[in-house]
Amino acid sequence: MKVLLIEDDHFKQELVEQALRELRPGVDLTVGRSVQQAVRLLAADQYDMIVLDISLPSHESRPGGSQPISQPSGGVEVLLELSYEGRSDRVLIVTQYPDIEYNGRLYPLNRFSQAVSASVSVSIVDVIYFNAQDNAWRDRFRKAFNEAG
């Protein structure tokens, strides 16, 4: 299974990656840490599942370089790219925020998928609230992968 993980937080990345390897030990995993990398990796390949954080830096940080810009809804760029290219890669959103901004409005996670699908054609499997303190996200993460086959 080919999975693209877009995540800038190392701690969260480790936990998500661990959960993923438990579910799919032979997973072919690629990791991107910024919106720019996500766009580049999408152009390079297709994926069975994209595990997507929403709040991301615009670019990778370099010492002494210009500071990348934080994009609170940067992950939405991935959805727009997929829709623009007419691709059907499945997307599982895993975020630490309770809401996501789209077209100037904040949507609670349980309503985001519906809101975005009015204007974007993209296959969102689930939108999960990540809280390292409890395991609820793991259950939904597992369920999403199991249902995806």
């Binding site: 919106v35 720019q36 766009v39 580049r40 152009a43 709040s55 615009s58 670019h59 990778e60 940080s61 370099r62 010492p63 002494g64 370089g65 210009s66 500071q67 990348p68 810009i69 934080s70 994009q71 609170p72 809804s73 939405v76 760029e77 727009l80 790219e81 829709s83 623009y84 630490q96 925020y97 309770p98 809401d99 789209y102 077209n103 904040l106 204007s119 974007v120």
Partner: protein
Amino acid sequence: MHNTAASMLRDITSERARNLVRGFLSPNSETVARRTMENLRRECSFGDALVAFRFLRDSPLANHIPKADPFPNELSEVEPVPFYGGSRFEIEVAAQAVRMELEAERLVDAIKLVGFLNKAILTRDGANVATVFAEYRARFGLSLMVAAKAISLRHSRFTGLRSSADYSEVLTPFLSPRRQVVTAALEDSIDPDRDYVRVRRSFLAFVREGRLKAQDAAIVADFLSPLEQYGFEADQRVQAFGRWGLLDTVAYLFRLRALLVRQGRTRDVAAVDAAIPAEVTAAWRSAFESIDLNVLQEFVGKKSQFFDRVLFSHLPAWSECPALHDHRMRVEWAIGPRLDGNFPVSRRVASTFALPKPAVIDLLGTGPLKASLGDVDLRSCGAFHRTIALIASLEAGAIEADDGEQLNLLLDQTLDVANMLSLDELKAFLPSRRDDELYEYLRAALINDVESSKVSNHALRRALQRVVRERFDGDIVKLLGHVDSENGHVSNHLYYLCTESFLTELYELYEQADEVTEAQPRILEWRGERRNDADALLRAKSHRLNLRLRKVRGAIEVTRIYVDPLRFIQWIEDDVGGDLRAIVSLADEIVADPDTSVSLRDPVRTALQPRYRLLKLLDNCYSEFCTNKIYGVTSFIGRRIRHGTLYGHLVLELRPEIDCAIKECRASAPRFAEFLANWLFRFDAAVQAMAADRIHVRSKEKPKGLIVATLDDPDKAAVAKLMLGEVALSMRDRSLLAHSYSIIHEYCWILFEVDLKRTREAFEVLRREFVIGVDQHRCTDIPELDQRITERIRALNSNVQHRFDIVRSWLTRPTSVSPSASVALLFEAVLDEVRQRYVSFKPKLNVSGAEDIDLIGHRFHFFYDALYILVDNAGKHGEVQGQLRVEVTSRSAEGKYVDLTVSIVSDLVTGKEDGAKSRIEDAMNAEIGDAMVSHGNTGIRKLRGLVADVDEIKGFKHAYDGNAVVFTIHMRYLKS
């Protein structure tokens, strides 16, 4: 009742009408009088109306009823005149006929005087214009029509005429103490610094939403969109204009007559003709029949390709001329609903103004621009008429652009295409063509202008990146150059599109954040050079220097709350600069305005009054300062405090201590252990709630947010007033707006301190809520245990307090909010750059004195330039491995200044000292002349130019010390 009055009343044939007049005369309440007059207007015949209105005009019994003065002197005489909301057309015309019949002679004189005024204005006879304005005011009082002339003059292209022709007498009553809404709508729609379509739509929205008094709304609607109803039929408009002086009434009646003729309403035309005295009609025709279009076009300006739209916006001030009015009505009929933004359009008749064409090539201009009122000549017409021709062609059916280059030409020669078409019309006009990158980019840009969504913005970015990559070597500046033309319409659009946030999201084009940062100054430099835009060049310089300093610093500054001044000021320039420039001329008025309110709740007042217009712009700035997703303060709070850090610092790092205490007390003091577990549970939830609900900008979604991103906040009123005053003063006194931008930036921090204080207080309240009382947990029978618990509680309270102190320290303003750099850092950045030019330049460095002194704000750019010139000279002409010494001294002067002296000492090349000294002497003694723009010399002349031009650089001298040259720069600036 008086006998004459009784006999007059008897001439009213209807008894009901007679009784209504009698009822109206009785001293009833205002409501009853109003209802009676409405009934009279609704029920009586035309003949009875004439008698009744004459009676009300002449009878002493009706003296107590407020009536419209034929020639009012002040606005206060117009305002009390009742507006009944109309009745029937012929009744309202009868009312005006009665007003005019006794004043025809005076009205004729007024008309003749306005005829002279027109001639004086159009022949640019400033002295005569001033005389006629003053004479009109003295003899005939106030008039909307005459005020409109003054407004047209105020925005004409003849600055000499504007200053010599004093029009204040006729305009001031409409501006002071408050802008009157009708003249404000007129002025804003004519003002070339304001977007005509936006102004028109804003005022019409006020009309539509019932935000204006009906009598004003009827006139505003008529001036801006004369063919659309907006709830006001002709009878209401007659009555609304009838509240003003007779000149304005008759001006409207002539416009109305033209409309009625066009509509074939012959009976109504006859009623208007009968209402206007014959001598008035004759005088009107004689005075206004022959205004020369070319002269008027010359007056309003004809150089720009938008000359026809400029003329169109002035036409309400010249509507007495039948040919000009007819021209305006033809445009209004053709595209009025589109100008108003009423989509889908109710009529598709643009072809009545300009003939449709089958292909874009037929729409393009070829010859020199020429004004015309007749058929549109596409070879020479301006962008406005060409846009109407484009609309006519689209309404007529399929029309296509051959390719992107042709579309680019078309967009360059038209205007507001995205505003004038619906999305469906646009998509039908421009079907997708994947094989033409430029076409796709222009198409996506137009769609994004209409739609403005994430999807359209993404599509635009994709299209733009594709054309830049595939046709312009990945260089956006090359595309800017390619789409640029004499008009600069398309390139301006692209320039304004390329904000930092937009460039950041061009992920295919810019793989690193550095590339985005590099693209910005290049775009600004292009703009600066191409458009001679000094502000753009200055900002480019700031960006470049910032980049260099960042490389030298080598690390990102770690401040918890920070707003990048460059980014914020760039935003002000891009998003607010145009509107600020538009009110620079009103700065005097704002400074003098005695009003002190900072409430923005009345949108009409905010649109009309200069003080509130500025306040609204400052409010936009503060909102952006707080909420910008990239550099706004709350984005920093979100990233660095709210998200994870706060919870980690207050809860996660505290948890081990609590867990340890629970474990320790579980057996000996189980109730205390249970209390602690509950305490931690509640504290955890409270901190999470603080992060989730409170450390946010207050909004519908976050009503408990502690940051109120507006000036309209009682806690900020005092600061907001000061801010407004200082910004207005700076706009009045300084030629460059850059100074005002700096003031806005600094005040945003002072405003934000109010929100920070509120947030810090909320944290203090939270802390107090979780202070654990020592007495509550004493187990009186075991003193040792009590002692241990007491110590534990004290330690815990102290730890919690310490943690909250740290959180509060995060919520403080950084010590320096302006861009700053130390002399040493600037020197290092200069040296780094010079070494790249002269690789063998390896001087022996020695920096001494007050090298750590920080230069703050814009002054360090000047100092950088000066330093660069001197070090570059050392690299180019000096001893490459000689000494390079920098000595810095700083001292306080006159209490409020800092005197900074920097000496740069460099060795001259051994054996060539005489030549070098001679060159230096020549440069130090030569005329400065064009030093600031010429290149290729030592740069010392340029540095002397800086000393002359930049206030803060006070002196520049040189001396020799053995075979070394010593240059000394002296700066004096205000202490920060």
